[in-house]
């Protein structure tokens, strides 16, 4: 079906930061941050017109440095946070900051691309998320479903919880914790759990996954040797509170029940190189997206451990008996975990994948050479899940 063809967009710089505009629930919009050491870096606001299959984009200048991580506020469409590298005197520092984009770009003004080139606008700095004590920010995560006032940043071996005050113009360090131990410990990634009233955060360092309680800033669980090599990313199941997925340099994706940290619930081994990103679909948690440096994006169907393992339960009373019967039959079909599709549009390592916050059937992936690909869940599967 021609509608299912991927849409490709190219940036002229290397890029590895991608996020959906989380607070936007109507339009499909992604933010991409570039990596260039020699030119001003940019944030591309990519609007995807679902009906016409057209991409509209706006470019914002991010002059502070090259972007390693980007995340959008869940409450305010115009606010986003980045982790960026600043080079000064042959030293490289990774900092983090909260920014506001110009008002007219928040909801994607549809200027023609040519005009915007001349008037590349700049981000307005709201506050820095670092102080002299902590640097080398690995990533910044917002409190999900919150009011956009709480944010966590991972710096070296510290986990910092910030309160944004005075309409985000001031960041106050609310609490922090750090990882003790031998060697140079360094967080690689973290996610904020949407469950338990948003009081849990999980982080990854080296081969270990740890859970933290944000109220006491203490460790609540620890999965040692979750992967044979470095853990690259993790994500929480949006519908099942104890489930999380992780991926790493051993080419595997593992699914964990945090109540049993001794062994994974399930392990996927589909990629042929490091897996950099794993993302649950926001509504249908059987759909799991992974991006890897083998240049592939894989969409898997993890029905057996999802919140709807037997398809939707038939609880609507108003459907006729006949249909009832039919759907019952359908639910009896053996459901198996499988790879739905392997997307091979990228030619370089894929460092970021994410689902759209507006359309649960649409996702974007970004490879190092600056290629952004927007794909959809195959239509047949979509109907299978919906009906």
């Amino acid at each position: 079906m021609e509608d299912d063809a991927p849409v490709i967009y190219g940036l002229e710089f290397q890029a590895r930061a991608l996020t959906p505009q989380t607070a936007e629930t109507d339009a499909i919009r992604f933010l991409v941050g570039t990596q260039s050491l020699k030119y001003d870096n940019q944030i591309h606001i990519i609007d995807f017109d679902d009906e016409n299959n057209i991409i509209n984009k706006n470019v914002l200048l991010h002059q502070a440095g090259e972007i390693w991580h980007i995340s959008a506020s869940p409450a305010d469409r115009g606010v986003l946070a980045t982790c960026y590298n600043r080079t000064s005197d042959s030293k490289v520092l990774t900092c983090a900051a909260v920014w506001r984009m110009p008002k007219e770009l928040e909801s994607g003004s549809h200027e023609s691309p040519d005009d915007s080139s001349s008037t590349a606008q700049t981000l307005e700095l709201l506050c820095h998320l670092d102080n002299t004590a902590h640097s080398n920010m690995a990533c910044v995560v917002w409190e999900p479903m919150g009011d956009g006032k709480k944010i966590i940043s991972l710096a070296d071996n510290h986990i910092l919880l910030w309160d944004l005050q005075e309409s985000s113009s001031q960041a106050v360090l609310a609490s922090s914790a750090s990882l003790g131990g031998k060697g140079q410990l360094k967080f690689t990634s973290g996610r904020w759990s949407p469950h338990h009233n948003c009081t849990q955060v999980a982080t990854a360092n080296d081969t270990t996954l740890r859970g933290w309680d944000t109220r006491s800033m203490s460790q609540i669980y620890c999965i040692e040797n979750a992967h044979g090599q470095l853990v690259r990313d993790l994500d929480f199941n949006p519908n099942k509170q104890y489930y999380l997925a992780s991926c790493g340099d051993d080419c595997k994706v593992k699914f964990w029940d945090t109540r049993n940290v001794t062994e994974p619930v399930k392990t996927l081994e589909e990629h042929s190189h490091w897996v950099w990103n794993v993302r649950y679909n926001h509504s249908h948690d059987q759909l799991v997206l992974t991006g890897s440096s083998d240049s592939r994006v894989i969409l898997s169907n993890m029905v057996s451990i999802s919140s709807e393992p037997f398809g939707h339960l038939v609880d609507d009373d108003d459907i006729s008996d006949q249909e009832d019967h039919r759907s019952e039959e359908k639910s009896k079909e053996p459901l198996q975990d499988n790879v739905i599709a392997t997307y091979e549009e990228h030619e370089d390592s894929v460092y970021a994948v994410d689902w759209s916050s507006a359309d649960p059937w649409l996702f974007a992936s970004l490879s190092y050479d600056g290629r952004l690909v927007i794909n959809r869940v195959p239509r047949a599967l979509k109907y299978h899940i919906l009906l």
Partner: protein, 733 residues
């Protein structure tokens, strides 16, 4: 096909009209009452027609005009088949239709439709006429044919009647003939029965004499067959005195026969096949199988024991014992061959005995086999002292190979496993023996050195220098080690039948040879040396310092070089055989001058293409044009692709994974100018050396290119090193 629905043939007019015309014409043309007169029935007026008849006519018309039923029904314009105003509908009602027309249409249209309809009717009429004319001749000839057939059939009926009466007469005659012959037929049947009975009786009466004759002639098979045939009858009629006598006679003769057979069986001189025949006959005579089994095995045991005895005699204390190869040959052909024959015959004869029989055979084989093994081991133990490994290995090979056949036949007896165990034990003992030999050689060397050192100096004649002594010791030890290795290596030669056993492929090489023999020897060397150092006070006879010096130098040499050399030698001969077993694998053509290529980080054109002075905003798909085009032509590299089991493929896999990892790590860093240059040099160096290990050197180039390009991107101040400088640096290494 008529255009439009209005012109299609349909009962849009009173149905009687076309039929009336047809009927009139048919009546005019037909001569008399004939099948052709059928259409003539129709002009009875529309009221008289049954609706289904009308339907049929309608259907025929449609058929004629090539309008299928379904097509008419499926007409998109006809929404309701029940509509009485639908000209083509089944429920068309002319009155309603006319009413509708009159009410709805203006005059002009009415006129038009009238003329239109008239025209259609006319056309239909003429069509109908043509149709009737065309078919009329056929009707006529059909009538004629039928009339002729009627006449012919009348004639045939007469003839059939005649035939029936004739047949009745014949049946009658036949019945009479059988009745007259019935009597005689019965008598003949009875006579034939009596004859057969008499012949059987004759056979019985003659049986004793026949049996006797057979026994005399030695035709035991024939005798057993006769006996088998008569047995049942005699059994049944034994209450009659005459038969009883015959049976008694037969039993006596059979007993004699059995006796003779047993006699022959016991004598056994005539070899296994004939014995087997005896057993078979005895079984047929109903002798108890158990007993025969026992007897058979006992007999076989006798023969095999004889073989064993002769082997033992060879083994005996008398000095002219044959060499071990000859011994195992004898054992193989005599004992093992005999065992094979026995087992085969037994399995064939006593197959009916089931698992108990097989178990008995296995126990038999196990017992004799263990005795044989004991003998072989005794013989092999005599060999332990000797130095000739090749003869021993060949003997073991024969021994092992020979035992494979009964192994298959007597899997339960576990002979093959036992044989393998013996071979393994011998191999282990040989290793121990060689270790002893090496130790002895080492001590011998030391004694020589001591003597040389202690030898009184003859004036004017300088004793051998320490360096010379050291070289002598080292070379003699090394040559001993090499000789031992070569001797032991025979055990793993490919043509030896046991070399593919797991023990010889794994443990023997790694544990036995490498650890046990070589490492063990080196350890004992160290111990000896150590003891020389420790002991001086105790024994009084102090170790000469020159010897200590020499030993220390020897140990130092071993530490720096010799040990690794010896181990490498061992590994090459024993462990790395896996590498030799697998093929090299396919390699793409490699350019010998590939090492001449130098990395230019990026050509000037590429640089300009990538970083235009004033950057233009991203327009989809025209960025990174050059690198994208470059990638377009290079195939996707599957980093963790499956490997084949050959050296090149495995190495290619390892190199791909390593280079991809390097690439990913480079991309996570930021480089200074010199960092970039270091990467450049590293990659060039890798390129100089890696290509010879991979299947496709282009792969290495691509990955290394990407590493360098990525490093250049990750460098804020990219000043690449001159290619010539890079080359010089790499070649200097």
């Amino acid at each position: 096909m008529a255009p439009g629905s209005a012109s299609s043939p349909s009962p849009s007019f009173p149905a009687s009209r076309p039929w009336a015309a047809v009927g009139a014409m048919a009546a005019a043309a037909a001569a008399g009452p004939s099948p052709g007169s059928r259409p003539g029935d129709s002009p009875e007026g529309p009221e008289g027609e049954a609706p289904e008849r009308r339907r049929k006519a309608h259907g025929m018309l449609k058929l004629y005009y090539g309008l299928s039923e379904g097509e008419a029904a499926g007409r998109p314009a006809g929404p309701d088949p029940l509509d009485p105003t639908d000209l083509n509908g089944a429920h068309f009602d002319p009155e309603v239709y006319l009413d509708k027309l009159r009410r709805e249409c203006p005059l002009a249209q009415l006129m038009d439709s009238e003329t239109d309809m008239v025209r259609q009717i006319r056309a239909l009429d003429s069509d109908m006429q043509t149709l009737v004319y065309e078919n009329y001749n056929k009707f006529i000839s059909a009538t004629d044919t039928i009339r002729k057939m009627k006449n012919d059939f009348r004639k045939m009926e007469d003839e059939m009647d005649r035939l029936a009466t004739n047949m009745a007469v014949i049946t009658d005659f036949s019945a009479r003939i059988s009745a007259t012959l019935q009597d005689r037929h019965e008598r003949i049947t009875k006579l034939a029965g009596v004859h057969a009975l008499l012949r059987k009786l004759q056979f019985l009466f003659e049986l004793p004499s026949r049996l006797t004759k057979c026994v005399e002639l030695g035709a035991y098979g024939q005798a057993v067959r006769y006996q088998g045939r008569a047995q049942a009858v005699l059994q049944q009629y034994q209450h009659l005195p005459s038969f009883r006598a015959i049976q008694d006679d037969c039993q006596v003769i059979t007993a004699r026969l059995a006796q003779q057979l047993r006699q022959r069986f016991r004598e056994g001189g005539s070899g296994a096949p004939e014995q087997a025949e005896c057993v078979e006959l005895l079984l047929a005579l109903g002798e108890p199988a158990e007993e025969l089994c026992e007897e058979f095995l006992a007999h076989a045991r006798g023969r095999l024991e004889e073989e064993l005895r002769s082997l033992e005699a060879e083994l005996g204390p008398s000095p002219p014992a044959p060499d071990v190869l000859e011994f195992t040959d004898h054992g193989g052909s005599g004992f093992v061959g005999g065992l094979c024959q026995v087992a085969a015959a037994y399995q064939e004869l006593f197959a009916a005995q089931g698992p108990a029989g097989a178990e008995r055979l296995a126990a038999f084989a196990r017992e004799l086999g263990s005795r044989y093994f004991a003998l072989v081991e005794r013989r092999l133990a005599q060999e332990q002292g000797g130095g000739d490994n090749s003869l021993l290995v060949r003997a073991l090979d024969r021994f092992h190979r020979r035992l494979r056949a009964p192994g298959a036949l007597l899997a339960a007896a576990g002979l093959a496993e036992a044989a393998t165990e013996i071979v393994e034990r011998v191999a282990r003992e040989r290793l121990g023996h060689h270790l002893q030999g090496l130790r002895a050689a080492f001590l011998g060397c030391l004694t020589d050195v001591r003597q040389a050192l202690a030898a009184p100096r003859v004036a004017g004649k300088e004793g051998p220098g320490l360096a010379e002594l050291l070289a002598n010791v080292a070379s003699s030890i090394l040559s001993h080690i090499k000789a031992s290795l070569a001797a032991v290596h025979l055990f793993t030669a490919k043509e030896v039948s046991f070399s593919n056993k797991p023990y010889f492929r794994g443990e023997f090489c790694s544990q036995g040879v490498r650890e046990g023999l070589i490492v063990g020897f080196i350890r004992s060397m160290c111990q000896t040396a150590q003891s020389f150092c420790d002991s001086p006070g105790e024994k009084g006879g102090a170790t000469p310092p020159a010897l200590l010096l020499l030993l220390s130098r020897l140990c130092l040499d071993y530490e720096t070089a010799t040990i690794s050399y010896i181990l490498t030698l061992t590994d090459e001969q024993f462990l790395v055989q896996v590498g030799l077993l697998y093929e090299e694998g396919v390699r793409k053509a490699q350019s010998s001058d590939s090492s001449k290529r130098t990395f230019s980080v990026y050509s000037s054109s590429r640089q300009q293409g990538r970083y235009a002075p004033s950057y233009t905003p991203s327009a989809p798909m025209d960025t990174n044009l050059l690198s994208n085009i470059q990638k377009l032509f290079s195939e996707r590299i599957d980093v963790f692709s499956p490997v084949e089991f050959n050296k090149v493929s495995v190495l290619t896999g390892i190199i791909k994974i390593s280079l991809k990892t390097l690439l990913e790590c480079v991309r996570l860093r930021t480089f200074g100018r010199f960092g970039l240059q270091q990467v450049q040099v590293d990659c060039h160096f890798l390129q100089l050396y890696l290509w010879r290990f991979v299947a496709d050197e282009e792969l290495v180039h691509l990955l290394l290119d990407e590493v360098v390009a990525s490093a250049a991107l990750r460098c804020p101040d990219p000043v690449p090193m001159e290619p010539s400088v890079v080359e010089v640096i790499c070649e200097r290494g």
